[in-house]
Chain length 414, copies 2
């Protein structure tokens, strides 16, 4: 390979050192200048995007749609950078501080991670979003996007880097891996000593590859096999609304529901009701034996595999349980620890569900679709962590920081 990843890593580390010392105001001004530069370079960006689109003629329309940039989308992406500029800066915040038994003043201070690696698919908006969030949080970033978006990503990075240079910052604060072979990707995942974290975003397969191959610290994101459990004590009108929303409002995303679990006490009443509502969206129902018995032709039999499948489509697995415990065990066995909801009017059942279900986000009487950095109020999202280390659930700017203990003494020794 021609590409020298180690050299990129060294340059990123050097840039990160400088970024960590920038003031919030400096960072915000540069982010706003980047937004303006994107708008100013709309024609050049669309031209680069055209190069990618011409090669993507055989792709699915949804793929091409995500790859395509037009004037309106570039405006939106630029607006995203302005929003990041407007967010509070986590760097320098003090989480805790105390004086220890030796009289040392110990202060835990938020600092940037250093160098962030991102691996993602052919979505050029992620290039700018990630660059913006990393920059705001004082991190250098190395981006490895899908090969189908390479020309677009290179142009986008060029525009951002130009702004960096104009502001006296090394352009290596934002770098693109321009060689998209698997060999280079694998070496990237093993760039220990340069990458402080690697965040994969995209398909379950991409994320699994990173987990298997990476030797640098990884934050696992995205996979969402989410459930809605309709309890024996549920308000069934509310349950219907929540199930339809969780499944149909945007089925392609990770916080959409994939399995409906229904208590036997309400199954005969609720299942036909919700099946009718879901039929308006042509949702295919894959039920266990009891569900199929109740719904007849309106459902097809589910296989064991269905309980573990993230459809990202208008398909819903359905299971009837006799107890809350059975529901919790089913969910904990099959979920991806992303988002889980109970619909119930029982205080005790709601408490048990949120206490015992293992997931980043557990809901009582609300749709799983709310698991999102913007909806949660973080103002941004670099991804949704489905692992337990460092960050869990939607990740905003703070997830891109770490801490350092600053200890002030007067000559203390041990």
């Amino acid at each position: 390979m021609a590409l020298d990843l180690e050299k990129m890593g060294i340059a990123a580390r050097e840039a990160a050192f400088k970024l960590a010392q920038l003031s919030t105001e400096q960072k915000n001004e540069i982010l706003k200048a980047m937004a303006q530069a994107l708008v100013d370079n709309t024609a050049a960006i669309i031209a680069a995007n055209q190069v990618d689109l011409e090669k993507a003629t055989e792709m699915k329309s949804s793929f091409v749609d995500r790859l395509t940039l037009d004037e309106a989308r570039i405006k939106d992406i630029a607006e995203g950078l302005r929003q990041v500029a407007a967010l509070p800066d986590p760097i320098g915040n003090v989480d805790k501080g105390w004086i220890n038994q030796d009289g040392l003043q110990i202060v835990q201070r938020r600092v940037p991670l250093g160098v962030v690696g991102m691996i993602y698919e052919a979505r050029p908006n992620v290039t700018v979003d990630a660059a913006g969030l990393c920059f705001k949080s004082g991190n250098a970033v190395i981006l490895r996007g899908g090969k189908e978006a390479l020309a677009t990503n290179i142009k986008l990075a060029e525009v951002l880097q130009q702004v960096l240079v104009e502001n006296g910052i090394a352009k290596e604060a934002i770098q693109i891996i321009t060689e998209t072979s698997h060999q280079v990707a694998e070496k990237f995942m093993q760039l220990n000593g340069y990458l402080d974290v690697l965040i994969p975003r995209g398909s379950a397969r991409l994320i699994q590859t990173v987990i298997q191959k990476a030797t640098v610290p990884v934050i696992e994101t995205g996979a969402g096999n989410c459930h809605v459990y309709v309890d024996s004590q549920a308000d069934l009108a509310m349950a219907e609304k929540i199930v339809v929303n969780a499944k149909c409002q945007r089925p392609s995303v990770c916080n959409a529901a994939e399995t409906l679990v229904v208590h036997a006490d309400v199954a005969e009443e609720f299942l036909p009701q919700v099946a009718k509502a879901l039929a308006k969206y042509n949702v295919e129902l894959r039920g266990d034996a009891r569900t199929c018995e109740i719904l007849g032709d309106a459902a097809v039999p589910a296989t064991e595999r269905d309980w573990d499948t993230e459809y990202n489509d208008y398909i819903l697995a359905v299971k009837v349980v006799d107890t809350l415990t059975e529901a919790i065990v089913h969910i904990n066995t099959h979920n991806t620890k992303h988002s889980e909801a109970i619909v119930t009017d029982s205080y005790a059942n709601g408490q048990r569900f949120v206490n015992e279900v293992d997931a980043s986000s557990v809901y009582i009487n609300a749709s799983t679709r709310f698991t999102d950095g913007f909806v949660f109020g973080f103002g941004a999202e670099i991804g949704i962590s489905t692992q337990k280390l460092h960050a869990r659930g939607p990740m905003g700017l703070e997830a891109l920081t770490t801490t350092k203990y600053v200890i002030s003494g007067q000559g203390q020794i041990r």
Copy 2:
């Protein structure tokens, strides 16, 4: 291999589910019962330890010392469990809570990680310490200690498991890997889906192996190439005291200093002074050219490798720099991001040092030896993280937890 790690993982996960629901009082009572059980089984533990010691006749005395358990040490280990029982329980604490724009009450609650894996060397006290800290924080633990301590570890685990069973808890909450082959260790590092985190504790080599082989999330611990920088504005009497303490008080540990960096303005005065003080401990000084010129026979020339070496011994590398910037660059280039100290009376230099040096713990006018969970006031320590994800610096009970968002709605949909 005969050992079924997956089965151990399943059992651990099931045990973890129950542990997460225990009250603080239940956990504390069990920890105290464990402490008593260790004391009550002193004879049996010493007998098991004897089996290990008989095989360790060819080992270094420091190794044998760490492996040895006697009545006093077992009492100390039991006392450690009682101290863990007395610590505040992080589980259930709410870090943050707010109402979002949709009227959802979002609460970020501390929960156990789930299943913790530990890989460590032949130090039986770590077996009990780790089991106690994981239990208190509601985690199941799978322990893989050094093979030289196997008989001891099995007996210690048996004693602890007996207490678990007497209290109605699955003994798989604390498990020992009884087959100490590399093949099993490697499979352990790749037990995805069962291990929520793997914490290696021990030599740099052990930790590097885990980083290279593990596919589960890892917290890197321990390696400490720590520096003391004596600034041009330093109080040289204080500097001498701090350097001697950081190097000599306990050279074998990770927060001991390995390199002294001295500003040229004070080198001629300070180096002979500190060399004299260090000579009392027979510290070997390995200096750069300027150091050797000043110290003559009192130092030997350092090689490039010395700047990257964690001696863990009575050896100190010494470098003279012309500027604070040169000191910071040297430290950031060679350190392991553990603990770094400046001795100075300059406010500006102190601020620059703590802002720009990249380490878990940065000190002004105090010894690097203070980086320690007990000294920091955490009441316990599962290790010292030298990575930036999840936890950085000394890790107490909270580092063994993650969070879950609990979201209470009234039927909200998106």
